[in-house]
Symmetry: none
């Protein structure tokens, strides 16, 4: 899989630690004391449009924002993260057609949500329709956001991208990541 190949590349390419010192980049400390989102979970959307958030992510998502994502899924950001993103995105030159469209999706499609006592959020109907959410939902952690997929769409997407994984890995290793 591309993941493994990519990991292998990084492992081999990792520069030797100068003087054996640890990596002290400023963003590392911040990430260590925050629990970042990783992993994939399978939950049910109920008849009232409620969706349980995996228990270990709830602390970071007391206040959150759901919005239209890419590839037919929804993005769920902690409110603070979303605000940062919104600033960047809204700064894009809106004389460009694509930028306007992107803005309208990400910002115009957004909805504030809160986690209730049972650990659920309510996904508004227009977003359920957008992402084609039925009952079985896959929630994936992507470090600073969650993605909400209909389980069937996720399975399909996954099957397709795994086929292309080698090419993707090569493309990316060319970026010098």
């Amino acid at each position: 899989m591309l993941v493994g190949l990519f990991l292998s590349l990084l492992v081999i390419n990792r520069p030797q630690n100068k003087a054996g010192g640890a990596d002290k980049s400023p963003c590392r400390a911040r990430i260590n004391n925050k629990s970042m989102f990783v992993g994939q979970y399978s939950h049910n959307l109920d008849a009232k449009g409620r969706l349980a958030i995996p228990a270990k992510f709830r602390g970071e998502l007391k206040k959150a924002v759901v919005t239209k994502g890419l590839d037919n899924c929804l993005f769920l950001y902690p409110k603070k993260e979303f605000e940062k993103l919104a600033e960047k995105v809204s700064a894009l030159d809106f004389s460009k057609t694509n930028n306007r469209a992107f803005n309208r999706n990400l910002l115009g499609g957004a909805m504030d949500v809160e986690i209730d006592k049972q650990g659920r959020i309510i996904v508004p109907e227009y977003l359920r329709n957008f992402a084609g959410l039925k009952k079985n939902i896959t929630i994936t952690g992507l470090y600073n956001r969650l993605e909400i997929w209909d389980a069937a769409s996720w399975a399909k997407y996954n099957a397709e991208t795994e086929k292309n994984s080698n090419e993707i890995a090569e493309t990316l290793s060319g970026l010098g990541v």
Copy 2:
């Protein structure tokens, strides 16, 4: 690609110890202040999806991350190692299709795990399926990660690559190994 083969070669050349037994030679060492995993172990996955981690690796893996690996196995990284990677990858611009696919595989395919008091981790079902894990599991140390294989897949892989190890080595000559 060459790099991936290089790692494979390391696997092939390592001396085998008797199946089912744990090799207790003083294998753990530190290179550049990083943990180093060497050796091959045979453990059982129980009905609850729990898998014992070889005792001598536990210190480095109190907190760890399991991810989809190459050739139908899983990778187990110390959490700190994985975080370095995750930070870089998650910083990629998600407006690019390939970046999104890559993130979803690497981060969405991963799972945070902790070692319990009995020295076991829980392998989530979707990863057990991915790697086709049954009951008999082979765990191999690969320098800075562990690999988790279904014993049957491992035996098959091993049998095939041993036959071809000379040819594989030829392709590596350019690396100055």
